[in-house]
Symmetry: C2
Subunit: 457 residues, 2 copies
């Protein structure tokens, strides 16, 4: 009898297993594919590696402003890919050895719940006190005409190629498309980015999404909004895709369509055996990561729509599920939920946007500080950068912070701690951040919200 069985060895499952073992549990972790999950093997990590290269090309382009010019730039994708595969292999080994070092039983196979306290893997039944489901999400089939052509690929297929395609249409709502589009564009691929929505990153505050849009357009990345693929046909010159968008109807000639929509997959997990509905969009959980079935927790991409699919959210949920499974009282903090995008400029959104804060019934006040007015921002020519803070008037509590610019993904940490520690706008306004840094703009944005900015015009 195991104390805890974790099904899924990715960004949520692995920390869940380790935390449970730390708390004294006899744990088994089951994974059908590769430990580390989508994130490490075919998601966050390889894409961030591509963005490292993409950032260097951004730095090189900036170089001429400060007297640095570069001749004969050669871009060898095979070198990048080889390093990427090696690093991922190394990280995967690290995960496996950490699991083993914690005396967790590691089972290769597809795990399935067969009843209360019962998990089946490779035809063998395991009894356990608690179950943590962490199987992630799977690819959604393209819903546009000719979506089953072999030229329509997802990011697993893109990551497998040795040579980058020459012309790519990136279609859909997944924010990763923006990162991949910028990387491909900078590496020499002709890209067209097409979203069915009215704007890219429609959930972000207006200041953020319009600035990102501007930055990408300035870089000559073509963006189509309110887009719909109405047909596609293979011809001599490539794939002819009929595209409707806000700009009208047109035919674009490409080599690949990249479509990477993902959704939680509830089928085949045995949910009905414990009284859960497998026909839902995702497994519903509370802040303790408990499902409605006693003793069964769920974490990560399995528990929300694509807009919630962030590895750090899986990690947090994994820790919380393990602690609750082992009798502690632990819960995730929905106020610090963070979205990040590793484009250049980066985007990070922590907590509520002004719109969401109003919708939640708060009496909202907002402040902002553009990086174009920040000394270091001026040195970096961060004309599209800004930080926006959202607070509620009654206690002055900070509800959200939104960044676009260099290092947004690291600066998000300031906002996460501020909200987690229930900081007020006054606290942020008084924070003594180092000079010259972009962080100074966070304090200035808070001072702006309070009507006492120092250096803003």
């Amino acid at each position: 009898m195991k104390d805890v069985v974790v099904i899924g060895g990715g960004a949520g499952g692995v920390p869940a297993a380790i935390r449970a073992a730390q708390l004294g549990a006899d744990v088994a972790i089951v994974d059908a594919r590769d430990f580390g999950g989508l994130c490490m093997n075919r998601g966050c990590v390889p894409f961030r590696h591509m963005m490292v290269a993409s950032d260097i090309l951004g730095a090189v382009a900036f170089g001429k402003k400060v007297g640095l010019s570069f001749k004969g730039i050669s871009k060898d994708y095979s070198v990048l890919k080889k390093r990427q595969d090696e690093l991922i292999g190394f990280m995967r080994q690290g995960v496996i050895s950490t699991i083993k070092k914690n005396n967790i039983e590691l089972i290769d196979g597809k795990g399935k719940v067969t009843g209360k306290g019962k998990v089946e893997v490779n035809g063998k039944s395991i009894s356990c006190k608690k179950i943590i489901l962490a199987t992630g999400a799977t690819w959604v089939k393209p819903d546009f005409p000719e979506g089953d052509l072999e030229e329509v690929i997802n990011s697993d297929e893109l990551l497998a190629v040795d040579e980058l395609p020459k012309r790519v249409l990136l279609f859909g709502r997944n924010p990763w498309l923006l990162e991949i589009a910028q990387f491909l564009h900078r590496f020499g691929t002709k890209v067209v980015l097409a979203t069915p929505d009215k704007a890219i990153l429609p959930e972000e505050s207006k200041a953020i999404r319009t600035r990102l849009n501007k930055a990408l357009k300035k870089e000559d990345i073509e963006i189509k909004k309110e887009a719909k693929i109405t047909g596609a046909s293979k011809g001599k010159g490539g794939l002819r895709v009929d595209l409707d968008s806000k700009e009208g109807s047109e035919t674009v000639l490409v080599d690949r369509i990249l479509y990477i929509e993902r959704a939680a997959s509830l089928k085949g997990l045995g949910l009905t055996s414990i009284g859960l509905d497998e026909n839902k969009e995702y497994v519903e959980v509370n802040d303790k990561m408990e499902t409605r079935a006693e003793g069964v927790y769920a974490v990560g991409d399995l528990t929300g729509p694509q807009s919630k699919h962030y590895s750090h959210f899986s990690f947090e949920g994994g820790i919380v599920a393990a602690e609750n499974a082992m009798g502690l009282a632990s819960s995730v903090n929905p106020m610090t939920f963070t979205r990040v995008l590793f484009t250049q400029p980066q985007v990070a959104s922590v907590g509520l946007t002004p719109k969401e804060a109003k919708k939640a019934g708060h009496d909202v006040f907002v402040g902002a500080a553009p990086y174009g007015m920040n000394p270091y921002g001026m040195l970096l020519a961060e004309n599209e950068g800004i930080v926006e803070v959202v607070g509620e008037k009654k206690y002055g509590e900070v509800l959200g912070v939104h960044f676009i610019g260099s290092n947004a993904s690291e600066m998000a940490g300031q906002a996460i701690l501020a909200i987690q520690l229930e900081a007020t706008m006054e606290d942020l306004a008084r924070a003594s951040f180092p000079h010259p840094t972009l962080s100074e703009s966070l304090a200035e944005a808070a001072r702006d919200a309070l009507g006492r900015h120092i250096y803003l015009p």
Copy 2:
């Protein structure tokens, strides 16, 4: 009769004047040289601009790991310098217009206190209720033999040249020397860095300073410790400098010696007229930035030794002095004092080092997470990076956080907020930082301190 007269228009004086004006004061600000002070005109800003260029060269060198190679790099210092001078001019105009927009009287001239509530500028006396002294520091004369040779320069003189010197000995304790050394080295100057101390950054925690030392050595920057200049003579090939160091005696041939030690200058400020001693090392103030003379505040470099000369500390003091001068009860937070260094890797130290915390009588516990074990850190090959957290055992309160690695200066903001908001190690351990970022290592370091790290071996 003015409410507040601020003497000195730099990083401390300007925010002091603006904050006082915001609180309703009739304010005058006096500066003898250029508004924006050393920091904006001849310090933090131009050096950070140089580090922007230096970082690009670092990124380019890294490029080959990810398949990016360059046939030729040309480095034109005159382009960098022109942009730098233009940006500084633009920022200075911005400061002046912000001062004017706040209806602050701007006086060009050398200000001097002549008694309680009396300031003299250009032979004219101004009466006022409160005085804020913010005149900064000045260059210390070299104390080594032949220190008055014209080849011995400070950073004002370095910033004035149109062409970088070919060979430079950087001598002294000012941490800026490390930034300048790296910039010069990357731009093609042969540099020798010599410190009288036993280590570079001797005040930093051991993990940090040894890693920085290693990174600079790996880049072939020559570092001499326990160094002393025993003589110098001009010859045909340049300046022959006799240098004693831990490694023995040697003669180095250079074009310039850069020496940039700075100290508060109390002379000529009229301090004796208000009962203050002008023969001290610096003007003593309490946490309210009050001097011992009633109604007289002092802020910034004037109030501490060189190790305290940070622009953000001046800013914080300026705001606090103005608020107290206008009747509010405000104080600086000595716990969040931060040192930063914009080398690559960057260094940032917030609060107490382990040694300082023990000395202050705390029962100390420490955790660390090397970036070599962080997924993004691995992608960046951040082998020298680490974050170290220092806490006290009784309440678990965080007392200090020390970073070396990319973005340390921005990540410092997380530590500053954590300490300001009196976070515990448990709070840091639970912070849900985005993935993949270096920030994740801050939470992991806190978990390490608590004995429950997840991914560390």
